[in-house]
């Protein structure tokens, strides 16, 4: 394969990279200007870069595989990459009103670099490439977390995130090396062939568990979630939004892909009565723990950001249910869930950012009476919260229905995974309590005496309304993207 062909396959990523460089260069010429202006110009460049990449994928979908699975371009990877780019654009839009940094160009460039990392992560079927792109993403995210240099919390959060992340990367790499030693290949499909029919080698189990631990760190599933609440709370709001949305989608996609492709045949069984060792019982345990811990811990939070962090842990648990049946249905459900969840949580962080700028307070009390001070973003927040709680007709409800039914179908005919589905539905009933607590502050509590209307920049309002509209539309008409996802998953032969 010539370098030209490789460039063609990697062109979407390259375009985003060029966008990052352009934002960096453009910003360096505007050093003396007002931060807000620089953010708008830089943000537009970044958004255009992402949009150009999306346009390229839509208009000239060159499919193919490079270097034996190092880079795979098929409808599925492109679909997820487009979703990631859309999330990035929204993140950039949310960042545009920020005032926490003067290094605008660097900030935007890092967001786009993280996006490049995620795009490569999604488009790879090779452990080596997976690890490298995982690191590119993570390193960018660590810096994004620490970007508010005036805040000690931001630095602390970044350090915590970095230490935990570094540890998890070590686990992942160690696991990968064992798997390589066992199978003689880093390609997922070849690994599956090599381990097929050999039963569960102890070495394989160790490698498998290590890899799962590494990924579970990445997607903040319990008990590997400890970094998440601090990172979500300390990071600048747009960074936190990005960690909670884009990196989640990419993380879950590759998690599922590595397990389903690379460890096909080592699934075992997580069903209640016919347990068999493999990776599904491990995932089931992580999922159950995440749902319980995330939902119960979220109840007592007084900070909205921490509440969102614990809710993210709970949602990681729900999403892992989509991996359990290890088939195309489950995978499609997982992708739908991850994408809609990312949109929702991105919007929620956008509201948190707007409220914080206005009141300087990110605790629940800071949201008191917001429906009368800023009706538009309050309605958006209500929609995001209800979608996270799984109230129809919002996207979160259909996501849950689809994931749960796919998981249950995977354990058919005797409904082996019913225990997990019952746990998931039960804990999501618990979750309504804390989402309603946020809604209660918004709509029921009275605004603090003497507070007037909250000024929310028009750009933020438009962004948030778009996200909320997306959550409503995708919930009312899931078929809009569902068919795309299902076709793409089918094409990729999952």
């Amino acid at each position: 394969m010539s370098y030209l062909d490789l460039l063609k396959l990697a062109l979407p990523e390259t375009i985003v990279l060029l966008g990052a460089l352009a934002a960096l260069v453009a910003d360096s010429t505007m050093r003396g200007l007002e931060v807000r202006f620089r953010f708008i110009i830089g943000g537009l460049i970044a958004a255009v870069g992402c949009a150009a990449s999306i346009a390229w994928m839509l208009l000239a979908p060159g499919l193919g595989t490079a270097q034996g699975g190092m880079l795979v371009v098929d409808p599925l990877t492109q679909l997820v990459q487009i979703a990631l780019l859309v999330l990035t654009i929204f993140t950039v839009l949310i960042s545009m009103e920020s005032d926490f940094t003067e290094h605008v160009g660097e900030y935007l460039a890092l967001i786009l670099l993280a996006t490049v990392g995620m795009m490569f992560l999604v488009g790879s079927e090779d452990l080596l490439m997976v690890f490298i792109s995982l690191e590119l993403t993570s390193l960018s995210l660590y810096i994004l977390t620490a970007f508010d240099k005036r805040s000690i919390r931001s630095a602390e959060a970044a350090l915590k995130y970095f230490l935990f992340g570094g540890m998890s990367a070590a686990f992942t790499l160690f696991g990968f090396s064992l798997i390589y030693g066992l199978s003689g290949s880093t390609n997922l499909r070849e690994i599956a062939v090599a381990i097929a029919g050999k039963g569960l080698d102890p070495l394989l189990i160790v490698g498998l568990v290590m890899a799962v631990i590494g990924f579970a760190f990445k997607v903040a599933a319990a008990p590997f979630h400890l970094w998440a609440p601090d990172a979500y709370q300390g990071a600048p709001a747009p960074s936190a939004a990005f960690i909670a949305s884009g990196s989640k989608v990419a993380g879950f996609f590759i998690f599922a892909k590595v397990l389903m492709l690379g460890f096909a045949g080592a699934e075992g069984n997580g069903a209640w009565r016919d347990y068999a060792p493999g990776w599904t019982p491990v995932v089931a345990a992580i999922a159950a723990l995440s749902m319980l811990l995330g939902n119960l811990a979220a109840i007592v939070q007084s900070s909205v950001r921490r509440l969102l962090a614990y809710s993210a842990i709970a949602h990681a648990g729900y999403m892992l249910l989509g991996v359990m049946p290890h088939n195309g249905q489950g995978f499609a459900a997982l992708i739908y869930y991850a994408v809609t969840y990312a949109l929702t949580t991105l919007g929620a962080f956008g509201v948190v950012a707007a409220v914080e700028r206005g009141t300087g307070d990110e605790t629940l009390a800071g949201f008191a009476g917001m429906s009368r001070r800023a009706p538009v973003i309050s309605l958006c927040m209500l929609i995001f919260m209800l979608s996270l709680a799984g109230i129809p007709p919002l996207a979160g409800f259909f996501g849950k229905f689809y994931v749960f039914s796919a998981a249950l179908k995977g354990g058919a005919p005797d409904l082996g995974l019913l225990w997990l589905v019952i746990l998931a539905v039960g804990t999501s009933a618990v979750s309504l309590y804390y989402y309603l607590k946020v809604a209660k502050q918004l709509y029921v509590a009275d605004p603090p005496a003497g507070s007037g209307a909250l000024q929310v920049p028009i750009l933020s309002q438009i962004t948030l309304v778009l996200l909320a509209a997306g959550v409503v539309v995708l919930g009312c008409a899931p078929a809009l993207i569902l068919n795309l996802i299902q076709d793409a998953v089918q094409f990729a032969r999952f």
């Binding site: 209800l386 109230i391 129809p392 007709p393 409800f397 259909f398 229905f401 689809y402 749960f404 039914s405 249950l408 179908k409 058919a412 005919p413 409904l415 019913l418 589905v421 019952i422 539905v425 039960g426 999501s428 009933a429 309504l432 309590y433 309603l436 809604a439 209660k440 709509y443 029921v444 008409a477 899931p478 078929a479 569902l482 068919n483 299902q486």
Partner: protein, 504 residues
């Protein structure tokens, strides 16, 4: 055309949201017009309805790859409840005409709730039904938490969580049924014809039934009802008792009993004298009847009396469902309608006519106020509503409860006797409340402050009261108006198993 009851309610809510702030008058007008339109459509649908048919209103693929359809249809049972919803919605607005605080938002939430309720009654696809069912939870929360009274935030959260736990149980059963039936369809008629394995039905039935019955106030899961009703503002408590509790009972009948009828078959063994889920739920229903009535007898808060009476009356609905014979079942549906009308009226008297004027609901305090003299219209209304609630012949409650009792006599003779005793207690607590609240005598030793001039009963209240009493009388005198459409509904294929292969 009936489908427009749903759309028009949501459109009304949307219109309210777009109204400029601080226009309570306009908001009330929009809400009333919307509710009247919904009622009008319901009545027109009734006039056109062919008895014994399931009239399809809309059927288009919604999520084709999962076999989910946007399927709205109506049979006689749904139509009865659609009519009830229309009546309750109109009456609620009439009795809450004095709202000024955030009126626009109030009616927006109110109409979303109404739209959701219409949706549940008209859905013939399980997924769609569930969507509307949950859609109704959130507005309830805000209606109580923002505009309510006594311990409103507690009552609202309790109500929301109970509802959500119930719907979680329903969701588990629903997903399981969907998967077991091959994950091709969620159409209620098709699923009702699917031969679910016997063992599956044995556990799915109680899960889904209880999930719905929580909202219908099944003892011992009823505790949300009194606190929620008391905390709610008048219009919301009228709606809660009037139609929201019916959502639960309707779900029990439409989903649990038609999909998993074999769950009602005998277990094949006896535990404490119970031989089937039918026995268990019948006993719980009767416990609810007697317990609700007895507790209502000792309340000091006027509104709690009515709150517990709702639990008691809903027990008749559930008992009627468990009789599994035509008389009992149609009695249960008629009781849903009747209780919706009568409970709405009772809450209106307590919440609007009495509490808004005297600012107390304490029966002892009311006793000294001599309300029958100061607001005679309220007293007359309550006497009539009380008579309807006790089940006096001539009112709708009588026909409904007699049918349930006749049905229960055939199925569970002992329980029928106990339920009859519940009616007697019902007379006692209504009488006691009426006596204390309206006809209390001022003791000569303590003349108390001179009776304050209370605000006169407004035209809207009179209209609402006349509407509800009139309907209760009309149905009581001529129950065939509704039975004509209810009874043939049970002949549809949906109820095949319940009708032909039933254990009794």
């Amino acid at each position: 055309m009936l489908a427009w009851t749903i759309y028009i309610s949501f459109l009304g809510a949307l219109a309210l949201m777009l109204l400029p702030a601080g226009t309570a008058r306009a908001a009330r007008a929009v809400a009333l017009v919307t509710a009247l339109a919904g009622l009008g459509i319901g009545v027109a649908g009734y006039a056109q309805f062919e008895t014994g048919r399931i009239a399809t209103l809309a059927r288009v693929p919604w999520i084709p790859s999962l076999g989910i359809q946007y399927h709205l249809a109506a049979d006689g049972i749904s139509l009865t409840l659609v009519l009830l919803t229309g009546v309750a919605a109109v009456a609620g607005i009439l009795f809450f005409w004095n709202i000024e605080h955030r009126a626009k938002e109030f009616f927006a939430f109110y109409l979303v709730l109404i739209g959701g309720v219409y949706g549940v009654f008209l859905s013939f696809d399980l997924f769609l039904l569930f969507v509307f069912y949950e859609l109704a939870i959130i507005p309830k929360y805000f209606l109580i938490a923002i505009w309510g009274s006594t311990r409103r935030e507690y009552g609202a959260m309790k109500l929301a969580l109970y509802s959500f736990v119930g719907s979680a149980m329903v969701l588990v059963g629903l997903i399981a049924a969907y998967v077991v039936a091959g994950a091709r369809t969620l159409d209620i008629v098709e699923l009702a014809g699917f031969p679910f394995p016997h063992n599956f039905q044995m556990w799915a039935f109680p899960v889904v039934f209880v999930g719905f019955a929580i909202l219908a106030g099944l003892w011992p899961f009823h505790t949300w009802a009194p606190t929620g009703h008391v905390a709610a503002p008048t219009a919301a408590s009228m709606l809660l008792a009037g139609v929201v509790m019916k959502l639960g009972a309707y779900g029990c009948l439409r989903v649990a009993m038609t999909l998993f009828p074999q769950g009602l078959e005998p277990w094949g063994f006896h535990v404490l004298g119970f031989a089937s889920w039918g026995d268990v739920f019948a006993v719980l229903a009767v416990t609810g009847i007697v317990y609700g009535a007895t507790v209502a007898l000792v309340q000091t808060d006027f509104k709690f009396v009515i709150g517990y009476s709702s639990v008691s009356h809903m027990g008749f609905v559930l008992l009627g469902l468990m009789t599994l014979n035509q008389v009992g079942l149609s009695g249960a549906v008629l009781q849903m309608f009747s209780h919706g009308v009568v409970a709405g009226l009772l809450f209106a008297v307590v919440g609007r006519m009495v509490y808004d004027r005297t600012h107390t609901r304490d029966l002892a305090a009311l006793q000294g106020m001599n309300l029958s003299k100061t607001i005679p219209f309220a007293a007359v209304t309550f006497v009539l509503a009380g008579a309807a609630s006790m089940g006096l012949p001539g009112f709708s409650g009588f026909v409904a409860e007699v049918q349930v009792l006749v049905g229960a006599w055939a199925a569970f003779p002992t329980l029928a006797v106990l339920a009859g005793a519940g009616i007697v207690v019902g007379v006692a607590y209504t009488w006691r409340a009426m006596q204390k609240a309206f006809f209390g005598e001022v003791t000569p030793a303590d003349p108390g402050p001179p009776p304050k001039q209370l605000e006169r009963i407004s035209v809207h209240e009179r209209l609402g009261a006349v509407l509800l009493i009139g309907i209760s009388l009309v149905i009581g005198l001529c129950p065939d108006l509704l039975l004509r459409i209810i009874v043939p509904s049970f002949d549809s294929p949906l109820f095949d198993w319940l009708r032909t292969g039933g254990p009794r």
